[in-house]
């Protein structure tokens, strides 16, 4: 597979929520290549989640062209194929886990894709094993802790065997250990992804490009910025430099 072909190509996307001006997404252009690991760091309300939902076809943009895997998506039905290729991890894991047990929830996607029971079970067990959640199969989804829910939600997305992941604030509300675990998992995955996060350390640990959003557009944020911030350390009175 050509590693550097465009997987997601957005041209001139516009979208606004009724009753709020200006539009949250304005004439947005963005190309995502296979093999990319992209971070998206931007203030609240700048349209990051909206962008993800537009890519998945959960929201219809007022104008613009969406191309996924080289094909233009025209009808809402075309998104059914998109959802096989792109997996979206929601902000709130409770939205994603609705089956009584973990194993049932993880198998939900594969069964929808027409896999047999045995195949679906095999895929789910493999994924849970990969994430170190072997013992979770029969756990009841709503009794899991926040961190466990997040990892199981990731398992449900991975069970669809997507080519690209969209991760919407995967670290929100996680403790340091689970965050560390998530970093290791993402780095072990052979997948391209886009991560939304407010945590700079996390985003630099799992991605190789960082973008930001401004005025409804996506901007590559590659340059080094000279910046000042107050800080404390010993002998701080002496003139010194940080590099």
């Amino acid at each position: 597979m050509d590693k550097k072909s465009a997987f997601i190509n957005l041209k001139g996307i516009c979208f606004g929520y009724p009753g709020s001006q200006p539009d949250v997404i304005q004439d947005l252009n963005f190309t995502f290549f296979r093999g990319d690991r992209v971070g998206l760091i931007a203030p609240n309300g700048s349209g990051k989640t909206t962008l993800f939902h537009i890519i998945m076809g959960l929201i219809q943009p007022t104008s613009g062209i969406i191309e996924i895997d080289g094909e233009e998506i025209r009808k809402p039905k075309d998104f059914q194929a998109v959802r096989r290729k792109i997996g979206l991890l929601f902000q709130d894991a409770d939205d994603q886990l609705f089956s009584p047990t973990v194993l049932e929830d993880v198998s939900f996607g594969p069964l929808n894709l027409g896999k047999s029971r045995e195949e679906a079970l095999q895929i789910s067990r493999d994924i849970l094993g990969f994430l170190g959640l072997h013992d979770f199969q029969d756990r009841i989804t709503f009794t899991l802790s926040g961190g466990e829910k997040r990892l199981v939600a990731l398992a449900t997305v991975l069970a669809m065997e997507p080519k690209v992941l969209l991760l919407d604030e995967p670290t929100a509300g996680l403790d340091l250990d689970t965050k560390e675990k998530l970093i290791q998992i993402l780095n072990r995955l052979d997948l391209s992804y886009i991560v939304i996060s407010h945590e700079f350390d996390f985003i630099t640990a799992v991605t190789n490009h960082i973008y930001t959003m401004e005025n409804g557009k996506i901007i590559l944020d590659e340059e080094l910025h000279v910046h000042r911030h107050e800080h404390v350390h010993r002998s701080g009175k002496q003139p010194h430099k940080h590099v």
């Binding site: 959802r83 979206l88 939205d95 939900f108 929808n112 029971r117 709503f142 997305v157 669809m160």
Partner: protein
């Protein structure tokens, strides 16, 4: 909070196939509900008590569950013996207690307790999720089963949301009283719960669509025609 106080256990009843237990509980309660003979009622009452013992349930908890119908029973005993027409049994001042009235009350009481005990011993000894799947395998329409399971799943989330909202009210000094402010606040609270629930339903549906949901649920559990589970 919904609890499943009897779902965990290792008795011979817990080991029976859930489908079998549901069917038996259903048939048994039909018989009890329709029976008129006291002999039948007495036998079924004894059987239901035996089943509860067999299931090895905590008797105190079972009695606590029975308390839930106590109020209803009390109301019946207070009204029916005095209002039902028939042979006079006893006279209390101007009020007449009739024999058929007392017998009817006794029947209703035995029937309710027997049916409740049967359901406690056979149906409440499985988790709601097992109940849902068993109903599905008994060819209850999939939509109804999913409605049961999803309701059960999200009742907890809605309850948490309710707790969060009431805590938020309390920490800002809200104390309920008999005044417009309290009523209005409660109305907002309930309204907020509905709004949250409906937005959440939308998000859950989106999450399902993202995982290829096309309006059909597939079950993981295979049909195993055996008595033991």
């Amino acid at each position: 909070m919904i609890q499943e106080p009897f779902a965990a256990g290792s008795s011979c009843i817990h080991g029976l196939d859930p489908r079998f237990r549901i069917v038996i509980a259903f048939l048994f309660s039909m018989v009890v509900a329709l029976a008129g003979e006291f002999l039948v009622l007495e036998i079924s009452f004894v059987v239901s008590v035996l089943l509860v013992c067999l299931a090895g349930l905590h008797l105190k908890k079972v009695l606590k569950q029975l308390l839930s119908i106590l109020g209803f029973m009390l109301l019946i005993w207070l009204v029916l013996p005095f209002t039902y027409e028939g042979e006079l049994l006893y006279r209390v001042g101007p009020l007449e207690i009739t024999k058929p009235g007392v017998l009817l009350c006794a029947r209703i009481t035995i029937k309710s307790i027997a049916i409740l005990l049967i359901f406690i011993s056979l149906v409440s000894t499985m988790t709601i999720s097992a109940l849902g799947h068993a109903l599905g395998r008994l060819h209850i329409p999939g939509k109804l089963v999913q409605l049961l399971l999803m309701t059960y799943r999200y009742i907890f989330v809605i309850e948490q949301e309710y707790q969060r909202l009431t805590t938020a009210m309390k920490i800002r000094g809200f104390r309920s009283g008999t005044n417009i402010h309290s009523y209005r606040t409660y109305a907002y609270l309930i309204g907020m719960l509905f709004v949250h629930a409906s937005i959440r339903a939308q998000r859950v549906q989106n999450a399902m669509l993202c995982r290829g949901f096309k309006g059909r649920f597939y079950s993981l559990v295979e049909y195993r025609p055996s008595l033991r589970n």
